[in-house]
Amino acid sequence: MEQSGRTYSRAELEQLLADYAFGQLQPEEAQRVEHSLELYPDLAAEVELLRHVFAHLDELEPMRSLEQRSRNLSVQVLQRWQQEGARQSWRWVRLLLPVAGLGLLLWLGLRPPHSDSLGHHLSTSETVQQVELLPETLSFSEGLLTFAQWSAGIPPVARPPGTALPVALPTASAADSLWQTLLLELEALDAEATAP
């Protein structure tokens, strides 16, 4: 911009024209634009045209409906905010439910066999002649297997001596030991079915 001169160049003037036409310039700047417009009558005519067109545009208020439509927004937003806040507190409960369910499942699987009806059911099985004493507590995989059997309604099988489940499988993962246990159980069932 020509800070020292009294007039703007045409390019500078064009940048200020809209603000000048709509009265958005500082008084000093507006005065300088007026001086400059004397040099460019076509731009002066354009200012006049813009003022008339936009004065009529203002009368038609094309953006007025936005004012009306956004008027009740605060009520809607605050209602949703409160609802979301209430939902936030329930979110913890929703997260805790599956965890609690899993905990219950594990607890059922790991309980000592004689402490409830399941344990009793196991210890009074009459499907074999030689009953092996079950260990006082079950390993993790045995617990899961016992629970699965109980859930599926499969009668528990006591093993003859020599085929007892290993109480711990230190080198195998939990999944592997569960699989091995299942295989042993299936073999025992098979032997029982084929016995005379």
Partner: protein
């Protein structure tokens, strides 16, 4: 007897402070009332539908409430809200385009307009039609020109503030503003409402020419 506490918080800083450490609900209500028109207007220009603009504006304020206590005041609240609004609106547009494709220039459907109480139904209808036409006209402008024009002309923001919002230099904004004003005036003088606009012009301008290019 002491006067009841004023419901109006003077500055944005006071409002943020009240939200952080005072009456949150009161500050939130004031916050929405202060910026609802602005947020709605930006959302509507991007989305072109009043229902979508309503949804977007609500989402913007809910997101703002979530983060307002961490607001650093490196920009103004209006600039911050503008950015959130554009992000929400663009995300809604992307979602909408998965199901349908509507060019922005045709994105302004016929909608029921709350009629002004002082106008007849015919006047209200005409006003509504003009609004739809004008918004379509705006949507034909390049985005930077459209945003600069609306933020400067309708929202009355300073170039500094618009520059923060749009990331454009002030010189660039001034050029955009002038170009947008020129294009809008030319379109109004040559579009379906040309006769009405020309009638208002000084005599030497409106006579003769069939088409007016500024």
């Amino acid at each position: 007897m002491p006067a009841p506490q004023a419901l109006s918080l003077a500055s944005d800083e006071e409002l943020i402070e009240e939200f952080r450490n005072g009456d949150r609900e009161r500050a939130a209500a004031q916050f929405v009332r202060r910026y609802q028109r602005f947020v709605y207007s930006v959302a509507y220009r991007y989305l072109g539908r009043h229902e979508d603009a309503q949804d977007a504006a609500q989402e913007v304020f809910l997101r703002a409430f979530e983060h307002l206590h961490r607001f650093q005041q490196r920009s103004t609240l209006r600039t911050w809200l503008y950015r959130i609004t554009v992000r929400v609106a663009l995300s809604m547009l992307r979602q909408r385009r998965r199901f349908e494709w509507t060019p922005l220039s045709q994105a302004f459907p016929e909608e029921g307009e709350p009629a002004a109480q002082t106008s007849t139904p015919e006047q209200a209808h005409e006003r509504q039609e003009f609004e739809q036409y004008f918004l379509r006209l705006l949507s034909t402008l390049p985005e930077k020109q459209r945003e600069t024009f609306v933020l400067r002309y309708f929202e009355g923001l300073s170039y500094e503030e618009i520059s923060q919002m749009l990331g454009t230099s002030i010189g660039g904004l001034k050029a955009n503003y002038f170009l947008a004003v020129r294009k809008i005036a030319t379109a109004l003088l040559n579009g379906p409402y040309a006769e009405e606009f020309r009638r208002r012009l000084p005599q030497h301008r409106s006579n003769g020419a069939e088409r007016t290019d500024i």
